[in-house]
């Protein structure tokens, strides 16, 4: 029985990666949930907004490193992030102006807007791939210090058999996500504009009566969503790698997170993000080592003790989604149900 080593393994392979992934999903789900709350449709283009934002950030990062700029030990991408966000903001505002605004005017059904967002998804994905140097290949753009704590230093510090590594990108992910969430909630709860957004989301007619300008609310929503999407995408890309079409596959866990938490409810989106991430990682992780440490000495369990192979990680978010739809369609935190 070796509890300490078991905990270290668990931290290293489940808790830390799942926390970082959960933070990325939470930021993504916040964007989806905001669009749902204000514009009242499920935005299928969100994954590709993240991809475009990340690609823009990568281009700026390359430009900066080309000029010799760096904020080592942090990755240069963090410095480039604000510029990436600005480019993405322009793009989504452009799409809103050219595409979505018309459907708001004619008061189209939400399902039509979902279809429109799929058209936007393709166009954005194509734009991302057209960007010079992006294409369809894997891009790693994390520079600076790789580890906050590496396996070796951890072993030397503690003298344990198992090592624990915290990658810089994981730490950055959690810190940046926390800053974003605090800023968002401060904005939504304390500022006049944020309050008008919440009012518009709660009751459109009443908000219009009290003189809130709907176009302004929509514009600010898009700006926030572009910022959240670019941040989430860049953090995910830093943590793993950037590939133009992997972000489409993030749609399912992001939607699951937003629905589990209750669509339209920001706190729910964060909870949902972590719930999905922890379920996904723990269901697909082989607990062999952990159980081995917890059992008697010199004993290893025979099987891998893995509930599902990692190829089925979609199935995890999907099953959670189905369970929520069956038993509590409005989500954990009560979201909208129309």
């Amino acid at each position: 029985m070796d509890v300490l080593n078991a905990i270290v393994v668990l931290l290293n392979f489940v808790i830390i990666p799942a926390t970082a992934y959960g933070a990325q999903l939470a930021l993504g789900a916040l964007g989806v949930t905001l669009i749902y709350g204000i514009l009242r449709f499920s935005n299928f283009a969100h994954g590709d907004t993240m991809a475009f934002g990340t690609a823009a950030t990568i281009l700026v990062t390359w430009g900066m490193t080309g000029l010799g700029m760096s904020i080592a030990p942090l990755p240069t991408a963090l410095l480039a992030l604000p510029f990436g966000i600005m480019v993405t903001m322009l793009l989504v505002l452009g799409f809103d102006r050219v595409v979505y605004r018309f459907y708001r005017r004619v008061k189209a059904k939400p399902i039509i807007l979902v279809m429109v967002s799929i058209g936007v998804m393709f166009t954005m994905n194509a734009l991302t791939r057209f960007l010079p140097g992006i294409g369809v290949d894997d891009i790693r753009f994390a520079d600076g210090e790789r580890f906050l704590i590496s396996v070796r230093t951890f072993r030397e510090m503690t003298g344990l058999e198992e090592g624990l590594a915290i990658r810089t990108t994981q730490a950055i992910t959690v810190v940046v996500a926390a800053i974003c969430v605090v800023a968002l909630f401060w904005f939504l709860n304390r500022t006049r504009t944020g309050k008008s957004m919440r009012a518009y989301s709660d009751n459109e007619d009443l908000a219009l009566l009290s003189g809130i300008n709907p176009e302004r609310v929509v514009m600010i929503t898009w700006l926030i969503v572009a910022a959240l999407a670019t941040t989430a995408g860049t953090l995910y890309g830093l943590d793993k790698a950037f590939k133009a079409f992997t972000y489409f596959q993030l749609l399912l866990p992001i939607f699951a997170a937003a629905i589990v938490g209750g669509l339209g409810n920001p706190i729910g989106a964060i909870l949902g993000g972590f719930l999905i991430a922890f379920s996904e990682v723990s269901v697909t992780y082989a607990f062999r080592k952990v159980v081995g440490y917890l059992g008697p000495a010199d004993w290893q369990p025979e099987g891998m003790i893995q509930l599902l192979s990692t190829d089925y990680k979609f199935a995890v978010s999907f099953s959670i989604l189905l369970i929520v739809l069956l038993f509590r369609p409005t989500g954990i935190m009560k979201g909208k149900s129309i």
Binding site: F41, S42, F44, I112, M121, F122, Q249, L252, L325
Partner: protein
């Protein structure tokens, strides 16, 4: 008015036909027939999606999954059984699956029959956990035995060895089953939920096909699914065929390939005509009018005593069955199941573009969209490349912008699909042949 619209429809069909015939003269008849056969399959997929969207306003983002289930049916019905694999662990795999299904059924029974107390929750958890452990123990060892049998060529259970034409209805049944489960869960809730749930299920179906080697050989692909039509070599070897091609004065090798494609086309056209006939009958029946009434105003249809949820479930299952059938036909045409070839862009969204461009709510429109968009899909890439070559012809060789643009030509399809979808939804939401 109606006569004028019909004239327009006929004209459009003639124009699309001219596109195909033109391709035949400019490229080759073999290529054209290849495109035409896939266009027939696409038209059937579009008919299925049109039932869901055009009749009932249901948004299915998982067409790809149902197509892939049809492909699975072609393997399960058409391929010969692998005797050694069955002897090694076939029954054990089946037993494992039965145990897994029994666990779920038992859990559902507990949920519905027991009073809602804490004991019910614990009983469900106990059943699910113990059932899962037993399922994995039986199933995993069976799978390992099956996959160890001649993994280079087989390593899976094979199919039933029945005529592959039977796979077409079976594909429909498989897809209908999946659709029923999804519909039961997601219909009756907000409309976006169906979209998200179908997106999820299609990803999972593809993941299963890619990873369950005992069933589909996974990424090793199943090739050589038996054909319902003669093989080229058989034709070339038969006396009457060489005689016929000599009389017609054509090369027997090229002619055999065209003949095989024509046989496929004949089969597909029969299926398409039957489906159109049924769809039109359904559309003009009281049932069709009820579906449109529900689509246009659920509240008042419900007030008239129509059961909106079960009608939605019905039409969702029907439409998915048609899509599954088309999937089986496609795998039969290709004679293979390649799980990694199922891409959402190609099998979900392309079919959507067909329905919307053709005219949602009009069966003929969906068919027209199937032909037109498939032709464009095949032709856009070479045309896009040629256009870029022409546009950049003023630039010097090796100019970075020119190279970049030419490199990007491969992504033209995505951009075109996105733009076409956006433009049609915006400016012509009723499509080329609108609903009557």
């Amino acid at each position: 008015m109606i006569a004028a619209m019909d004239k327009k429809a006929v004209l459009l069909f003639v124009l699309v036909g001219a596109l195909f015939i033109g391709t035949g003269f400019l490229e080759s008849w073999n290529t054209t027939l290849g495109i035409f056969n896939m266009a027939l399959v696409s038209a059937i997929m579009a008919l299925g999606v049109n039932m869901q969207w055009g009749y009932a306003g249901l948004f299915n983002v998982g067409v790809m999954g149902f197509v892939a289930l049809g492909g699975l049916a072609a393997v399960l019905v058409g391929m010969p059984p692998v005797g050694d694999a069955w002897a090694a662990g076939g029954l054990q795999v089946l037993l494992g699956l039965v145990l897994g299904a029994a666990t779920i059924v038992l859990a559902i029974l507990i949920y519905t029959k027991m009073p809602p107390t804490r004991a019910r929750i614990w009983a469900m958890i106990a059943v699910l956990v113990s059932g899962f452990v037993i399922f994995r123990a039986v199933f995993d060892s069976g799978v390992a035995l099956v996959e160890a049998v001649n993994p280079a060529a087989e390593g899976y259970l094979g199919g039933l060895g029945l005529p592959v034409l039977l796979a077409w209805p079976v594909g429909g049944v498989l897809a209908a089953g999946a659709a029923w489960v999804i519909g039961k869960t997601a219909l009756g809730l907000r409309s976006d939920y169906l979209a998200i749930a179908t997106l999820g299920v299609s990803e999972i179906i593809i993941a299963v096909l890619k990873n369950e080697d005992w069933l589909t050989r996974g990424v090793k692909n199943v090739t050589g699914i038996p054909r319902p039509v003669p093989y080229e070599v058989e034709l070339q070897a038969s006396a009457w065929f060489t005689d016929l091609s000599a009389r017609l004065g054509v090369d027997p090798i090229a002619f055999s390939s065209v003949t095989v494609k024509l046989c496929y086309a004949g089969l597909f056209i029969i299926v398409l005509l039957i489906l159109i006939w049924f769809s039109e009958k359904a559309w003009n029946s009281p049932w069709g009018r009820m579906m449109r009434a529900i689509r246009d105003n659920e509240v008042s249809a419900a007030a008239m005593g129509k059961d909106v949820k079960s009608r939605h479930l019905q039409v969702f299952v029907l439409g998915s069955a048609v899509v599954g059938m088309a999937g089986a036909m496609m795998a039969t045409l290709d004679s293979q199941l390649v799980p990694s070839s199922y891409q959402p862009l190609r099998f979900t969204f392309l079919v959507w573009v067909m329905v919307i461009v053709g005219g949602s709510g009009n069966n003929w429109g969906a068919v027209l969209g199937g032909f037109l968009i498939w032709w464009l899909w095949v032709m856009v890439e070479p045309i896009g490349y040629d256009a870029l070559v022409f546009l950049t012809s003023g630039m010097a060789e090796g100019n970075w912008l020119r190279d970049h643009l030419l490199e990007s030509a491969a992504h033209t399809r995505l951009l075109t699909m996105g733009l076409v979808l956006l433009l049609v939804l915006r400016f012509s939401p009723r499509g080329l042949i609108p609903e009557r």
